[in-house]
Subunit: 128 residues, 2 copies
């Protein structure tokens, strides 16, 4: 399976989870290629809206580009949503990290499995 299909499958898995818990969730068309800042997923209920950048990895570290983090932050600010990074490490459930949990590197941001375990929220934490 290509890296792109894996990414889209992970996004779909997360979207199913939200609907299962009574939230509405959608994938954004052209995320990453649009001329406007755009995350991967938007989810909401009557109380809360969240914008999500979605990542999977077989490694214990995942890097996000500056552009991805900027777009997530900027979109969330304008739309009126909470920005979250959802990361799926192999053999672990989803971790949700806030922008403050990212470790800044020279030209990117790092999410390590160690940080995710220590500071990340679970899917249940997010929807309850």
């Amino acid at each position: 399976m290509s890296r792109k299909s894996k990414g889209i499958n992970a996004e779909r898995e997360l979207i199913h989870l939200f609907w299962k818990f009574g939230w509405a969730a959608i994938r954004i068309a052209g995320s990453g290629s649009s001329r406007y800042p755009s995350p991967d997923i938007l989810a909401g209920n009557n109380l809360k809206k969240i914008a999500i950048e979605c990542k999977t990895t077989v490694d214990s570290r995942k890097y996000l580009t500056r552009k991805e983090v900027y777009e997530l932050e900027e979109f969330s600010r304008l739309f009126g949503a909470e920005p979250w990074i959802a990361v799926k490490f192999s053999k672990f459930s989803w971790f949700f990290l806030s922008l403050d949990d990212l470790e800044e590197r020279e030209n990117s941001y790092l999410v390590s499995l160690e940080t995710a375990k220590r500071r990340g929220l679970s899917f249940d934490d997010i929807v309850r």
Copy 2:
């Protein structure tokens, strides 16, 4: 130009308008083919979120299917957004109609140019 491309171009035009006025707006991936209810566009700012079913026509009447109207209503209820139908009749600007403005027909809902002129809101009405 195919009917589908015309539809997507109309959606893009509306999205540009929202960004121009300081709102965030996105097209939803797989709208209409998804297993979950889904409108065409989501737009929001810090005060308001709106879900939009987007239509264009060269005629003076436009029909929506029961499924389209149901999905717009259901998605909006779960996500926590206002449901709107945006219709672009040739030579007119966008009209925004609420679900109450639709005229029920046997297996569909009708938006007539006459009703749109009388009861529709303009884009300016929506973003201000």
